[in-house]
Symmetry: C3
Subunit: 432 residues, 3 copies
């Protein structure tokens, strides 16, 4: 399957997941995971009951919604949940009553600067009800009494997440995390789980994997906290690198946000890959974080998790509005993000610490690895090989060597294989 095909398939999956009304709990999450499971049947769905303590937090009640609307003084349905699930403030409590325009205004959210955008608003931890609408719609509201209906339930239930373990030769794990808790938004929601789904499919298709891969599809914040509270010891012990997969489907920038520590394997590989594939990538500070790295990199958790993104959350005007729709992402955008992350995973797979088996430079000529006739220009093409050998001192891993000798690590993969076959290089440590 070509990269173009993968891009198109990912876009199609975005399309099918777009209408589902997700939140941090509820049937929207379950439906989303069910659709994803059709692509990666190995995924396991976990349910964590309402009220479960997860570190400083408590799993909240489960929220579900069937319908919501506003009738204007003339009885016209002017706001309709079935047209856009962004119209309802997430976790709105049920309501069914008539209110004056003045009172209604206290429950309405719009963005004066983006008059045609419906904002995305939630109120998970304080009981509220509210409607979101465009500033244009709001300005048209006339005085009078409005009938508001939100047919939602907020009841004991559970928090749902998906987990996939793809075993490899080593029990050391690479960790991928993405979130499934936003309603109909494309870049800042669907691009993450969709690209992660296709990375999972690619990993499952590999004949050999050096590392194991642990991949979670969770609601943001409460989901990662819940996941960590149940798996902290294991994940701290096993994880060598991880990525938070979000905002990875538009066709504009490439971005990187470091782990808190800043120089983990995940950071090093992401910087190396982006430097060569997309040298104009945007580098953010950890101070500009805003997704689940907040939990993964928190003191005491300290996972090596970085973010590789297209345009970062909060950095594009459509973010957290109805304008972050399927026109914002594209097959090409998704494919580009997928390719960078897949390359990062490939580099982690191939990364290792090597050392030479012999002292001084090897005699490459008798191994057919060196031009036998020394000329003025000769040897330019063997420079990479000689540089690689010169730095295989058992101290630096292949990413560090590639950085030192100013080549992309993938230019060294074949050379490494050949020099291992020749017995010139040997692996010091196969994993980390």
């Amino acid at each position: 399957m070509t990269l173009n095909d993968v891009g198109q398939e990912m876009y199609n999956l975005c399309h099918s997941l777009f209408p589902i009304c997700r939140s941090i709990t509820g049937d929207g999450v379950r439906q989303t995971l069910k659709n994803i499971k059709e692509h990666i049947p190995e995924i396991i769905i976990h349910e964590v009951p309402t009220g479960t303590r997860v570190f400083d937090w408590v799993v909240p009640r489960e929220w579900n919604i069937r319908d919501a609307y506003i009738l204007d003084p003339d009885g016209q349905k002017i706001i309709d949940f079935t047209e856009s699930n962004l119209h309802v403030v997430g976790y709105s409590v049920p309501v069914n009553k008539t209110v004056s325009l003045k009172e209604l205004q206290n429950h309405l959210y719009s963005i004066p600067d983006q008059p045609d955008a419906i904002p995305y608003i939630t109120s998970y931890y304080a009981e509220r009800w509210g409607f979101c609408l465009s500033e244009i719609q709001r300005r048209l509201l006339k005085p009078g009494d409005y009938h508001v209906v939100i047919d939602s339930t907020l009841t004991d239930g559970s928090l749902t997440y998906g987990e996939l373990l793809i075993p490899g030769e080593s029990s050391k794990e690479v960790f991928l995390s993405t979130y499934i808790c936003h309603p109909s938004m494309a870049n800042n929601e669907l691009s993450g789980p969709v690209v992660t789904t296709y990375l999972s499919k690619w990993l499952l298709s590999l004949m050999n994997r050096k590392y194991s891969y642990r991949i979670v599809f969770i609601p943001e914040t409460i989901g990662s906290i819940t996941y960590l509270s149940r798996n902290l010891d294991h994940i701290k012990q096993k994880t060598i690198a991880g990525f938070n997969v979000t905002c990875i489907g538009d066709n504009k920038a490439y971005s990187y946000l470091p782990s808190r520590e800043g120089s983990t394997l995940a950071d090093r590989v992401a910087l190396h890959v982006l430097k060569y594939l997309h040298p104009d990538f945007v580098q953010y500070s950890y101070l500009e974080r805003g997704s689940d790295e907040r939990q993964y990199c928190s003191p005491g958790v300290d996972l090596p998790v970085a973010s590789v993104m297209r345009t970062k959350y909060g950095r594009y005007p459509e973010y957290h509005t109805s304008l972050d729709d399927l026109s914002l992402v594209s097959p090409e955008g998704l494919a580009g993000g997928y390719e960078v992350l897949r390359t990062c995973l490939e580099c982690i797979e191939r990364n290792e610490i090597l050392e030479t088996t012999l002292l001084c430079e090897p005699q490459l000529g008798r191994r057919g690895l060196y031009p036998t006739l020394s000329t003025k220009d000769g040897g330019k093409q063997v420079r990479n090989m000689m540089n690689l050998i010169a730095f295989c001192d058992g101290m630096n891993d292949l990413i560090q060597i590639a950085e030192k000798i100013n080549v992309p690590i993938w230019d060294l993969f074949d050379i490494v294989e050949r020099l291992k076959q020749e017995g010139v290089l040997k692996t010091v440590s196969p994993d980390f």
Copy 2:
């Protein structure tokens, strides 16, 4: 008392101390300390006898002077110690004789480039006598015989210094050192002891002090050597940070000169405070040192002592001349220097190593610390709190965290208190 009031009081104290003829020993030092003791009665006056060995040095004989003048060939008093105590070379031996102009010239000091300035000259360790005068005065001297009188004594006595210990909860100490050995000069003499006196008064006024404060008023060089020779073990063991207080009263630059090591607590707090209060401050190298940090930071002593100054000694034309008078310092200049140093001390008091008590981000909402409604702009104001928590890993102190998250440390003081009350943060080590 407002900062303006403190500035005015400090200026008044400069005024009263200005006429006293100080040197590295003698009654001028004692009179100065007596005046200071009126403000901080807790100060203890030490006398160290002439001949005492202090490391590589010996406490010199005590110098006192009652009068000095030159009569010109016509019997006119043309140089008069009572008009300016700078007229006599410090530590001049007594003289009372008639000399030719030619011989007199060998004992005169003036500055051709600053024709109206009387230079400040001393000869502590070689017996000399001499007069300092302005170049203008010198050019008026006519041929003939001059009668020179210096009514001084150079006899066994003692070196005098003052020491103040302000106890705190911890026996760890913050060290302040200033010098009282220059005759009538304002910025490069009185600003130091005067600002230090008012810092002492402020420290004494505090209800609680985490640290103890050891404050010395000493003659420069021989005084700090003497002090260290008598207190080295204690001061090396107890001092967590210190400042040499000098040239802190003019109204021009703010300056910083590092400790030799360069990254001690004193250096870090000075750089942090100056960066936010006076971002255009001048940063000197330790190679440009010239005061008692030469002793405090010498090999084997290695105290964490930095200098925070207004315009540095040697960097203003009036330095070490009669032009460094009370017009060069001002209430505002003194208040500005006082404020920076007081802020440094406050920051040291509030600095500590913190860690979070729980894993992952805390649920701030239920503690009333977080807006419960997530909006597009929401959270900007809690960013500081979240950043603080994100870096409270028990590894960095509060100054380091403030530097990492790009805020002045004082913006974190209230947040730290609140988060400690909430049990989210706890102190790892209360002092250093």
Copy 3:
């Protein structure tokens, strides 16, 4: 002997060595070493038999050549080895036959872009024969049959190198390596052994040497590998710094190429000396290496060997052609290179770790080291002394201190001696 005289003598030695046809083995190497031995009789000549295993390599058969020429279809000798020994591809097997121009072309080497240059070509590890000629000569070849003669032998014999040990007080060694394997070329061959010969003469002339000096004259690559294979343990244990001496005789740039590690004593001293003697020197990366540092700095060997050069190999158009002749080097060029390396060796000899014998600043006045009269400008000239003392903390060596206080180390030599005599400084460790 003045530096000018040394330059002239070195140039004369280049002149006498220039005609000898050197290769990696053979009588040319022996003749070269014999000439050098006339200057430094202490040198020992080693012969290592063909077939000896040296790490991954094998000492090759010995190559000698008596004559070589090409007769054109008219019987005219158009290529003549006796005119330039570059005319024959190094290690050419013997040949004596008539070939067509077409076949001959397969055995000819010229440089179209440098039409008047004879290239320097070798084929050590694959049996070939060939002639090198200028592009101009080549274009004049007319159709017909050519008679080619190479009267060479490729037989079991030995690899020859010279080794000189100049003992010092310490058994710790400084290592110099230069190569003697190129035929008639001046900068990229003779400048190295000639400057090394005169550095050896200078070292032998010294009354005292703190360190021992081990100096090798070897064929490049196979020679350094051979040398290391026979002496690795000793040289790894004893060598504190070393230099590869090559391309050190032209009158253009000064260059530095680091050791692989990059901050060894050799690197530090080379950078310090070049910074002060030739601040516009060119700094290369280890990735641009190309001489015996490839072996000396290889993983597991890890010697502290850097290169100080004039114009680096491969960076001047005459490199590896007949244009790298005696007009490219000069007495001044050789003298300049010699001076830099000699200064490096002097600095290593004088480098040491010092500490003060007393706490706080010493009383320099009573030792006659300080002006007794303090004036506004006074002390500028003692600043170096005070800075030196301020950093003699037993942690930094003299090179590091010189770097910290921004003076060339040689400005400190007299001060160090004086302060040692005065008992103010003492040596912590005399060697490394």
